[in-house]
Every structure is written in C-alpha cells, then in structure tokens.
C-alpha cells in the first residue's frame, strides 16, 4: 500500500475515533439542554464524562494536525472554504470546554444555568459544524484550480451541510444516551435507555441518509457491504437497548458508527475533497499529499504513538469503569473568603503563641 493511501486510512481512523469518543461527550452536553432540571442529575451526567472528555477531544486536534501534515492542500482548502462554520465550531468548543470546568465553581443557580446553556449550545454548535464539514468534504465544495472556494462566504451552505450537521447531532444524542445507560444508575440511566429506544430511529436518520447519499454517488460492492454491516449493527444495538442490555447496545451503536463512517471514507477514496465546479479540480490523495519523506516520518511516529494512546486511554476507561449514581456526587462546595469579617478583624486576635 502506498503512503498516501495509508495516510488516508489513518486520517479516516482519527475522525472515526473522534466521533466515537467525543460523540457521547457532545451528546451529554446537548442532553443537558432538555433532559433534566435536577442539578444532582445534571452533575451525574457531566461527571460520567468528567475524567475522559478532554482526552477524547485530542482526537479532533490530532485529526486536524495530521491532515495538515499529511495532506496540506486538503487541510488548507477545506478549512479556508469553511471559514464561517469553523469559526462557529471554535467558539462552540471554547465555550463547551470552559463550561465543563467552570459550571461547578460558582455558587448560584444562575451561574450554573448559564454555563449549562453554554455547554449545551457549545456542544450543539460543535457537533453540527463538524458534521457539516465532514459531510462537505465527502460531497464537495465549489473550489477552483488553486483549491480556493468561490461563490462567497456562504457557498458551503447546502443541503449536504445541513444533513451532515444533523447527522452528527443526532448520532451524538443517541450515542450519549447509550453511554449514560452504561455508565450511570438511577433515573438518568432509565431516561437514557428510554431515549435510545424511542428516539434513535429518528435521530439516526440523517446519518443514514448521509451514508446513502455517498453510496449512491460513489459506492462499490465493498462499501455497500459495510453499509449492510452498519445496518445490522444499529438494529442489534436498538434491540439490545430495548432489552436493557446496555453493554451490547453500546457495542451496536459504536459498530454502526465505525462501519457507516468507514463506508463513507471508502466510497470517496481516493478523492479527499471533490470540487463541485469541475472534477479536474478535485483534491485527491495524490495531489493533496505531502512528500514521501514526510509521510514516512509521520508513519513511524504514528506507529509508535497511536498504539500507546490506545493503551493509556483505554486504561483511563478501565480506572473509571464503575457506574456512577447520584450518591457518588458530593455536595456542591461553596467557596467562602478565608478572611475575618470586616468588623471582627481586630477582635479575633491570635489565639495563642
């Protein structure tokens, strides 16, 4: 296998890894917008992703940087063409990250309410924007011979962008519910399981539609076989969820994502960014890639680094494998100034010496 193909696979794997792991983080954030008003339940949901969300987000950073390193022309064209949606993604990701860390550090309900909104909307914006970007890199953008977008700031805004956005939003909601069913106990667990059973047939429609759009455009027997695997997996996941088998439900939904997203990447190969103006302007793994030497160096680094990531990130999930329930969530700590009240500053003199 030549190096550009290997790197196409690597980048597909990084994006799939990102959606697989961060999908439930983003979904939990969005669920906070509507699933419960009880603060203890909200904290339970948040703490289910607490130890792992930041590590999951690194998949996005690495996917972006690896695209830059291995396919700089793809990176440059895609990111500049999607200037406005990616700005929204960045603002969303910033708010989401800061909200997770800061929401519990204030002491008023208002403080928590606003940070919860920032967390929810930030998760929604990130999921939608990243979904739109991924859908467009598989369905095409109006790029010219130099790889630059033509048609103005909103040339990216097409039905495919909306479809991709809804696809990742819908998937994340289901994935998060499956995850919460597996990782929590009590009311949150029950609600999450019910959400999967009732809403996943609707919420997963956009991602299925995206898969089918790409397949009808570029499908091969192999990619159609992956679609079949994905369908079997999602049906299995749904049945398992209905039967209360949360572990299998998670496996089913995860396998659905891996097979479905793989079918998309496999179908568009070797094109990484089609031009909707002229197929001659398509960016492919050969005209967008870095040189052999760079790809070789990156292959060595990845062959060493990525398995290590699997090991220690996997270990994190092992350390925090226990189900959480509301009884595990400590009382919110109110931080008070460690100073004597102004009036008694002089009265409470040093006790002894």
């Amino acid at each position: 296998m030549d190096l550009p193909t290997l790197w196409f696979i690597a980048i597909a794997a990084l994006w799939i890894g990102y959606l697989l792991l961060e999908g439930f983080d983003l979904g939990v954030g969005m669920l906070l917008l509507f699933s419960t008003r009880k603060d203890r339940e909200r904290r339970l949901m948040l703490n289910a992703i607490g130890p792992v969300w930041d590590g999951n987000e690194v998949w996005l950073i690495t996917a972006g940087a690896a695209t830059f390193a291995a396919f700089p022309f793809w990176y440059a064209s895609l990111f500049s063409a999607l200037y406005i949606p990616l700005t929204i993604v960045l603002v969303s990701l910033i708010f989401r990250a800061v909200a997770i860390e800061y929401r519990g550090k204030g002491s008023t309900d208002k403080w928590r309410m606003w940070w919860d909104r920032a967390l929810g909307l930030g998760s929604l914006g990130s999921a939608f924007g990243i979904g739109a970007a991924l859908a467009l890199t598989t369905t095409g953008l109006p790029i010219d011979a130099n790889g630059d977008r033509v048609g103005g700031a909103f040339a990216w805004f097409t039905p495919y962008a909306v479809l991709g956005g809804l696809a990742v939003v819908g998937f994340s909601l289901v994935h998060a519910s499956v995850f919460l069913g597996l990782k929590t106990d009590g009311a949150v667990r029950v609600r999450a399981r019910n959400f999967v059973v009732r809403w996943s047939p609707v919420a997963l429609l956009p991602i299925v539609a995206w898969v089918l759009v790409v397949q009808f455009q570029n499908g091969t027997p192999i990619t159609w076989a992956l679609v079949v695997v994905a369908v079997v997996a999602v049906v299995f996941g749904w049945i398992s969820a209905r039967a209360g088998r949360e572990g299998w439900a998670f496996v089913g939904i995860a396998a659905f994502l891996v097979a479905g997203a793989s079918s998309i990447f496999a179908a568009v190969y070797p094109v990484v960014l089609p031009s909707t103006i002229d197929p001659a302007f398509n960016l492919t793994i050969s005209n967008a890639a870095s040189g052999e030497y760079t790809l070789g160096v990156m292959s060595v680094v990845t062959a060493f680094g990525l398995p290590l990531v699997f090991v220690y990130q996997g270990w994190t999930y092992w350390v925090f494998r226990n189900r959480l329930s509301e009884k595990h969530i400590p009382e919110a700590h109110v931080v008070k100034p460690a100073v004597a009240p102004a009036s008694s500053a002089s009265a409470s003199s040093s006790s002894d010496s």
Binding site: G50, V58, T87, L93, G147, Y312
Partner: protein, 534 residues
C-alpha cells in the same frame, strides 16, 4: 477591508491571548508536581494542601489554554491557506507530533489526576501528574520547533518552489528551536513562580491583617490560628511560607535561565535575522554601540530621524559576538543587502492580490521591535528583582503588614506575563515582512522564504475575517473576566477553597471519612462519594 491586515490582527490577538494561559500552565505544572512529590515522600499535610490549592488554580487556568489552543491549530488553514500549502510538508509534522506524542498524554493523564485522588494508589496518582506535566513541556517543544522553522527554515529542499522536508532531525534540532525552547520554558517557569510568590504574599498578609500571625520584638513570626475562619490554622502558615520561598527561588533561577538562553538566542538572531536584531537595537548605522535610549521617529525607514540619547560603545558587539569591537551592521547597510537578495518589489503574482508589484519594506516596525525588546527585558528583570526582595523580606517567616507592599506583590504577578507577551510580539513582528524568514547563514537553504503578503487565504473575504476576529475577541474578553473572577475567588478562599474538608472540620467530611484511599481494609470503594466532581 484588507483581509491580510485583519488576519494578522487575528493571529496576533489570539496568539498573545493563548500565550497568557500557556506559560502559566507550563510553569505552574512542575511546581505542583514537585509539591505532590514532597507529600508522597514525607506525608506532611502541608504539601498536600499546597498541591490541592495550587492544583486548583492550575486547572482553572489549564482549561483556558486548551480551549484557545484549538483556535491556533485551525486558523492556519482557515486564514492562512497559502501559507499552509507552502509549508505543509514540513510545518504540519511537528503539529501532528505535538498531538500524538504530547497533548494526548497531557489531557488523558490530567483527567486521571483530577478524578483519580481516591481511585489510584498514591504513587500512581502522583505519576499521572508528572506525565501530564511532561506532556505539556514536550508539547511546547514541538510548537517551538514549528515556530522556529518560520524563523530559520532548515531540513528542507526546494522542489518546484516549495520546501519539501528531507531531514526531520534537522528540523527538530534546529539551533533556533533549541535556544527558543529553553528560553520559553525558563520564561514559563518565571511566570508560574511569580504567580506563586504574589498569591502566597497575599495569603501571608491576610493572616497578619486578620491578626492570626504576628511578629515578636526581633521581627520573627509568631504563628497563630483562628478556628472561625476556614483553613486558617497553624499549618496554613507553613503552606504559604513554603510556597513563597519555593516560588521566589524558582523565579530567580528561571530568570537566570531566561537571561542565559536569551543571550544565546540573540547571538543566533544576529546571524539568522540581522535586520530583526538591528531593528530591536535601533541600530541604524554600523557600529558597536548599544542603545539604552533612542528617540525620534523609530518608524522612519531610513533612520534619519532616530537620535540616540544614551549609547554604550561595545555592548552591541558583545551581545552579538561576545567581544567589544566587532562591527555590527546597521539598518542602513542591511536593507540594500536584503533588496539585492530578495528583490525590491513583490512579484507580479496574483497571490499577492493588490500588493503584487509593490515595493517591499524590509524594516519591521521599529517602535515595536525596539520597545518590545526592552519591555521584555525590563519586565523580566523587575520580576526577578521582586523575587529576590521577597526572599529576603520573608527571612523571618512572614511578610510586612503593609497593604501597599501586598498590592505590589500581587501586581508583580503581571511582570513575567508582560515579558512573555513583549518577547513574542517582538520576535513575530520583527520577522516581518516575512512569514517564513530567509536563511542567510552558510549552509542554509536560502531560497526558502515567504512574504506574509502571500500567505493569507485567497478565497476568504475581509468580512469573514472581521466576523471571526470580532467573535473570538469578544469571547476571549468575556472568558478572561470569568477566569480572573474564579481565580480571585479561589485565592480569597485560601486552601479551604480547594479542600472542602478544611471548611467543615468537624465530621461530615466532603469525602465521607477522609480515610486513606490505600487502606486495603476498606469495605467497598465503589460506594464512596467521588473525591472530586464537576
């Protein structure tokens, strides 16, 4: 609206902002890890309290660095697509390595550290912090490698007008990168240490103001306690006096490192980017003199209006070469040399947009380089001087009751931040008009350079850039308010803000019994309340 100017402002604003959070993360991390190491080694609760308190502030700041770092990685492609295409073969690799070999470690292990207090054994838990801290320090290395390649491109060959990487080792061991990395890390240590000094001073002062501690006739501290204030017991005093001493010592050592590495960097820069250094020194004419103060129109292109008020002969030569009589080329000599090498006008290429064919101004904005350079050094010296003063003033165990001195101590936290910002503004603006500076040293690949005017995304409009600049600036401003607000709140809360059990000393502890997580006789850990939860 000119997309290039807006894109430059955006890069400047977002990078300076990002680099407020980052040096504090890099500098404070090792200090916290050191404190936890002492706790594990000695079992003295003082060290546990220090770990918890400084660790809490570390995390409040850490997340802002993470969040703003995303913008850095995305905006190369978004706003600087031509740059990304030109340098992608060599510049993306260190960024990807940063993700794979450093940032993954940092984020995953920090998650383990935050939530692992009662889930991991003591030593394993300590190890997770050290790994996370090592991740942040290694992460800085790869980023500096990428930046240094823009200052001094190495390890590439020009193929079809584009630099193609031929030697990763040369890129990773670029002499510019090694010195800049040492300079950055020592500078970050100074930031972290200054932060510890300022805040510990406030805490010691607060204890004196509340009449908890006092001094005897010889000025030696008399430690007291006040049970009605959360956390203000006798142990609390030792937390702050130890912190302030550690901070002051690291601040002084850090400054020493900054000075030595800065000198090495300057010597390289005289070779690699002579015009940047000449502009930093306000050196218009050839000579050996170092300008202490120059006035006049530093921005004038031919240096006609620049008047040197105070000059010390020989010093400039010493800074560049280590002797006192080597003639250093001034701006007036260098500009014709640059024009001869890299042209007098920008190429007539559509990449340059309206700027195609325009005359090139090789001189960076001299007010910025000249004063940026001096502010960097000035702030750094100020911070180090204050740390030295602190070390002497706390020799008898506490700080004076003077509110003014306490205010000064808190203000001194800003000095190393100021030095960092001034230094980066100097070195990035001093590189202009190039985004990738040419490499005139012997053996360098001299054809590898890029004008900033050619780097911006051709397809992106000024309006889009305004949208992103305005959104990011607004969000950054808003979040800075909240970060500072939270830091102030947690600082005012003392150690009890990070250790709720100190706020409720009589039973009903935060984590149930406060029992030893290593105790094998404990019935079932899985029923415990989490030691930490969002």
């Amino acid at each position: 609206m000119d997309p290039l100017e807006i894109a430059r402002w955006q890069f400047g604003v977002t990078t300076v902002y990002h680099f407020i959070m980052v040096p504090l993360t890099i500098g404070l991390g090792p200090v916290v890890a050191l404190m936890q190491t002492q706790w594990v080694r000695t079992g003295d609760e003082k060290w546990l309290r220090m770990t918890k308190f400084w660790g809490k502030l570390y995390l409040i700041n850490f997340i802002m660095g993470v969040a703003t770092g995303l913008v850095q990685e995305f905006q190369f492609g978004m706003a600087w697509s031509e740059y990304s295409r030109f340098v992608g073969d060599v510049f993306g690799a260190p960024l990807a390595m940063e993700g794979l070999l450093a940032f993954f470690f940092e984020s995953v292990f920090l998650g383990l550290w935050i939530f692992g207090w009662d889930r991991l054994g003591k030593k394993l838990h300590l190890a997770t912090l050290w790994i996370a801290v090592a991740g942040s320090v290694v992460s800085a290395f790869f980023i500096i490698v990428a930046n240094s390649w823009m200052q001094h491109p190495v390890g590439v060959e020009l193929i079809d007008g584009r630099p193609v990487m031929t030697d990763i080792w040369a890129v990773l061991t670029n002499n510019t990168a090694l010195t800049a990395y040492a300079h950055t890390v020592t500078g970050a240590l100074a930031v972290g240490a200054g932060f510890v000094v300022g805040i510990s001073w406030y805490q010691l002062w607060q204890r004196r103001r509340d009449n908890i501690d006092s001094v005897d006739a010889t000025g030696r501290v008399v430690v007291g306690e006040n049970a009605s204030i959360p956390g203000r017991d006798r142990k609390d005093h030792s937390v702050w006096i130890t912190s302030i001493r550690i901070g002051a010592v690291i601040a002084i050592l850090g400054f020493g490192g900054v000075a030595i590495t800065g000198d090495l960097q300057a010597k390289l820069m005289f070779e690699q980017q002579p015009l940047k250094m000449a502009a930093a020194e306000g050196a218009c004419h050839d000579g050996t003199s170092f300008s202490v103060l120059s006035i006049g129109n530093l921005g004038s292109e031919n240096c006609e209006d620049v008047v040197a008020i105070i000059e010390i002969p020989g010093i400039l030569s010493f800074l560049a070469h280590g002797d006192f009589d080597t003639n250093i080329k001034g701006v007036n000599t260098l500009i014709p040399e640059y024009q001869a090498l890299y042209g007098t006008n920008l190429p007539d290429d559509p990449l340059y947009g309206e700027r195609a064919g325009m005359e090139i101004n090789y001189l960076p904005i001299m007010e910025v380089t000249y004063w940026g350079f001096r502010l960097m050094i000035g702030f750094g010296m100020l911070a180090a001087a204050f740390a030295a003063l602190t070390l002497w003033m706390v020799r008898k165990g506490t700080v004076p009751r003077s509110k003014f001195m306490m205010g000064t101590a808190l203000l001194s936290i800003a000095a190393p931040f100021g030095a960092n910002i001034a230094g980066w503004v100097f070195t990035e603006m001093g590189r202009q008009p190039f985004v990738v500076a040419p490499n005139p040293t012997p053996g360098g690949v001299d054809g590898v350079f890029m004008f900033t005017a050619a780097a911006v995304s051709p397809g992106v409009s000024g309006e889009e850039m305004i949208f992103s600049l305005a959104s990011l600036a607004l969000v950054y401003g808003f979040l800075l308010v909240f970060e500072v607000k939270l830091l102030v709140k947690y600082v005012r809360g003392g150690v009890a803000s990070a250790m709720p059990e100190l706020a409720h000393p009589d039973g009903e502890g935060h984590d149930g019994t406060g029992s030893d997580p290593d105790d094998p006789n404990k019935p079932d850990k899985r029923d415990d309340v989490l030691a930490f939860a969002y």
